[in-house]
Symmetry: D3
Subunit: 260 residues, 6 copies
């Protein structure tokens, strides 16, 4: 395969290049969301960060992992953010999208898929599709929420909720990659509402969802005024390293065992 | 509400008793699975344990949490166990079941639901339904995988994978509650196959699903021969205490905030 | 197959025992409902009776019919009872559940299925699934509403509607098997409302469904105060004999003809 | 309402005539099937007979029941006849069609629906839709399988299975209404195969479906050579009278009770 | 194949005649709609015209194209006409109907399908199904909106919108084939409302749909008072000739290339 | 609304900016596809061109039409291209995506939507969704296939099929915007196969779909070797002008009439 670019992008390849690459390559698919991120962050925050990390991780592995990067799926499941604005797919729709993409790309020749998710609301669907599709097709699917990959040495300020939503952490990351998209003057210095039940385990193992919690919490988990581009850059690098390590490990684990 | 039994069971109540209880009670629904559990455990292991823990937790809270225990949903998503036998619902079917139950019980008057899950294959669906249903109905939904509730002081032997599948942990638990259902003579003393990629995070944040892994691993995660009913009893008590604590906390958190 | 129990229960078997039994056994699945049964009967009346009859019928045939009894599906289609309380699956959901169970158990090795239904609201769905699934899979499916099996010599009091809903008949049956679940003091001695159009054919061949009829009729078809545990026991025995005869005949009819 | 025709046909009315008629009229919908009917009957036998009986019944009631006759739905669920030829809707598709028709006609103003079914394969779906739709909309739905309406004095010859499929009964009826469509020279004088398990209750209350039974039985239930147009005419009159009586009774029962 | 009729009608054939004809014949399926057509035309206008043109086209080709004419599907997607009355299938239901019919008739032996559509609201669904089904099955599907077939020399009066909806064109056609169904005294001589955005491309390539436009336009596109049966007859002949030409061409194009 | 960018991009706005803009703005959504485009064009050709034209059109109207540009939906319905490679959504999935996006953005406050489609395989679905959604929600939806907007003065060389697929036209356009993505050395100078039945109307009004036609035609409609960036630039400008005119006209037509 002769690629015209340092990393292979599915959208930029021709059909013959794809045919050459598919059987031995890992198809990397970033998945984002378009939804309210407080008064200061852009709606596409999750899409931006998923795509940024996935792209950087593919680049970081370019010498060792044959990967093909698919266009980011910009829309995810954000029904819970409709109180304040989102372009949202219902979970069944998102599941159909991911299933169809894997199915058609498998027909195209790919056998290994690596999904980089950028949004908590997509988490269950991404994992469910990965479990289901392998009962239907002879494929391997790796999934990672970029914010959970790797480990971090960056100190977390008091009151910050990592990763949280539209708080110190995400704001720092967007400041690092697209500072002009952050309305720093609007970044909250205080919590916008009560702590959302959706955002933590009140006791170990317990998750609570309740109607209206996102609105009650003001749609952010923690103040963002202290966000810092330097910390953002370092944390982004840490997560990118984690995703790159995950991609590498996925490649190694599935290269031999992969069946047809 | 005058109940005929120490704990209120939805199936045993009359319609008027339900009408009296619904608005202020938490509806507790255990969810299991019927699937292969190695050569020594019965297919309904997950259903048995989910029901056992949920019932004991409701009892433990009977003085403090007004709860109504629904009949265990005995079937779950076990598509990945069909290589060796299961009665399985596809994820979309299980999601429809859970959604319909919450929806109809909400029409009946309940506003708060607490789902006690007994099977890893149900995890994403249970959580997805809990997130989705609160965007549709004015309800609160707590979810807990019983094996993740609370904490444990019980020492774990070398080679055991907790909770795992059909290994030391689950076998000990079934030995504690229904020893006659365990074919101890068949309990494996060695791993039945390679370690399944489904059973661990190869690096932090990475989940891997691959066609055929359950078969390659022999369908169990770790040897069961060292399983012990005493340890099982203690661990079951720990988990029950954890679920009871989660139920209590859920009740406290949603009692006031619950909206109509 | 060496079973640990007098009747083989799917949930109690190991995967190897299931593998041994599946090809030549009939899988028996009881199906119930959780719904209002007047002011005196418990919500799980239909589940209780379907499970009781199915279990007794399997026992009665244990020497002649190789059967494996699956866990009762406790929830059915009770949308029409939501006026007064139910945990209900919509018809499409129930159809998906039954289809998935047959499909996965067929993958597991079973070729013959016998569905014992305990609830009128499930009737069409149960029969529809049985007709459909044989156009998809090489299986045989027998279905029986337990109240229609066999014949009865028990005299029916004036005003009783057999089987009816929550009236003399069902109340007698529950009194026979779980008397402590009947609030006899609440058992109506008069009709609770107008005769429901849903409950009879006004002229031969005509069925009428009308919005609100279940509420107008008070949710029961006939008075229950005269219910009698002795009659209940005898009628239950008659129905059990009928279901056992049906199971035996199903086994004989499908044993030879069954194709793969 | 001034109609241009002796009976009101939905398809022939204008929107204003429909608007005038809808609130107080019964919408009558015949439902058929296009499927193999042995070597001698046309594929549209069920559609023809459903439409014939429904039309005659509406005419018979024209002085007493305000009815509007909708175009016959010519296609039904015939998946079990695909071994020898059919134009078939899957059950879920047929259910969607019937639900959509009732829903849209209710928006148009109708509140009462009377479904005249001509095909056994549609029976469960027709009844299921009638039960479901009244939990969704304030409507009344009457359903009748035309062959079960009324009573019959016509003697049945030995070996005939009434109504059966493509046997003495249906052949007599088609001979009565469209004799030129019957290939009498091909009408079987002997059974074409084994008696189909689908065609009878082996013991009371038992229904059996088995893969391949329709093919094994040759696709007809009983010989047709003795079919007789005179008997067909008399039996058709009997069924028409039964359907007319059902329609009249439905009108009386739902006229007053109908709610909005 | 010996047919009893000059043109082969699927509904009139026996299973053996269908079996003989299927492999080499084109299955012709007309599709209509039942919906408001102004104050003067009957609801089944589209069904009537699609069936009339399809039948005449099959007759016109009877010497050259082996065709089998299926019963018209009388109901289509008319959700946009519910403001004034329709019996409508939602698009997904109509797609399921068409897909099921092609699928079952392909199982029956047909490989080539020709859909004659009579209603604008069905257009996208008909074409979508034709595109989709060939990715699933080895079939060829031709589709034609009868009003777009062939060319016309008939002069169009000022203010007429061809084909429009319930205006000069459709009224002329119904006058030609079933004049007794037209309430000529009600035929509008002036537009009934504003020009509907749905009815034209405001600029090349732009289609606009807006809530309420059909009501605002009065449900017709142009006045019908000048409708003329002679013009209707000529235009119907032109369209029939166009559909016959399309059927002939479809037969020629797919006869050789058709694969199994 | 104070925007940070010359054109308002949904993804770049904050929730408050969206809230300010939604009610009076047109939401512009480009829709593409990722599929084989011959041996010389990249898979994302349609996504690239839809996004390019939509963006340029929004810019061109920036003084007159308040528009908000959503992230391009990169994946479309390409099932017919799977013979040679695609990342494809099935039509029902694509319809769900578009319906969900309009629905959630309507909840967010938008009332007017303008869909710019870049792929023929999406055409029916885009139009169907636009027709359906206005029967559900009080919105206006404009749709345009960018290649059909406006008019063109550019001469078309012999043998070119405009717009075609991966031929002279599309290749010229990609050469104009992203020349480095075109493998000009692979651009076919001769047709790669027989003319595809999918690509033209054999007679007026006839569309033909046949299994395997895309493969037989080699997946392109016409030679691309003569493609020219200058012509591409001019044609792109013409189409952009057409889409801008369509957007302007849509804004004018729906501004006043828009209902809530």
């Amino acid at each position: 395969m002769t690629l015209h670019h340092p990393i292979a992008r599915l959208g930029d390849l021709t059909r013959d290049e794809v045919a050459d690459a598919a059987a031995h390559s890992v198809l990397v698919l970033p998945i984002g969301a378009v939804e309210q991120h407080g008064p200061h962050l852009p709606l596409r925050t999750d899409t931006l960060l998923a795509e940024t990390v996935a792209t950087a991780a593919v680049e970081a592995c370019s010498g060792t992992v044959p990967a093909v990067l698919a266009p980011v799926m910009p829309y995810g499941n954000s029904e819970h953010h409709l109180f304040a604005g989102a372009a949202s797919l219902r979970p069944a729709t998102l599941a159909a999208v991911l299933g169809d993409l894997v199915r058609s790309l498998h027909t195209t020749g790919f056998q290994r898929f690596f999904l980089v998710n950028g949004h908590g609301g997509n988490d269950e669907t991404v994992r469910l599709v990965s479990k289901s599709i392998v009962t239907e097709l002879p494929v391997a699917v790796g999934t990672v929420n970029y914010w959970q990959a790797g480990s971090s040495a960056e100190p977390v300020p008091d009151g910050a909720d990592v990763p949280g939503h539209a708080g110190w952490w995400e704001t720092s990351l967007v400041l690092a990659v697209r500072p002009e998209l952050v309305r720093t003057e609007n970044a909250p210095s205080e919590p916008l509402g009560a702590r959302g039940l959706y955002s933590y385990e009140p006791v170990p193992g317990l998750n609570v969802q309740m109607r209206g919690e996102w609105a009650r919490s003001g749609g952010t988990t923690d103040p963002a005024a202290a966000a810092d581009p330097g910390a953002g850059r370092r944390m982004l690098n840490e997560r990118t390293a984690g995703v790159a390590e995950a991609l590498t490990r996925f490649h190694e684990l599935t290269r031999e065992q992969q069946t047809r």
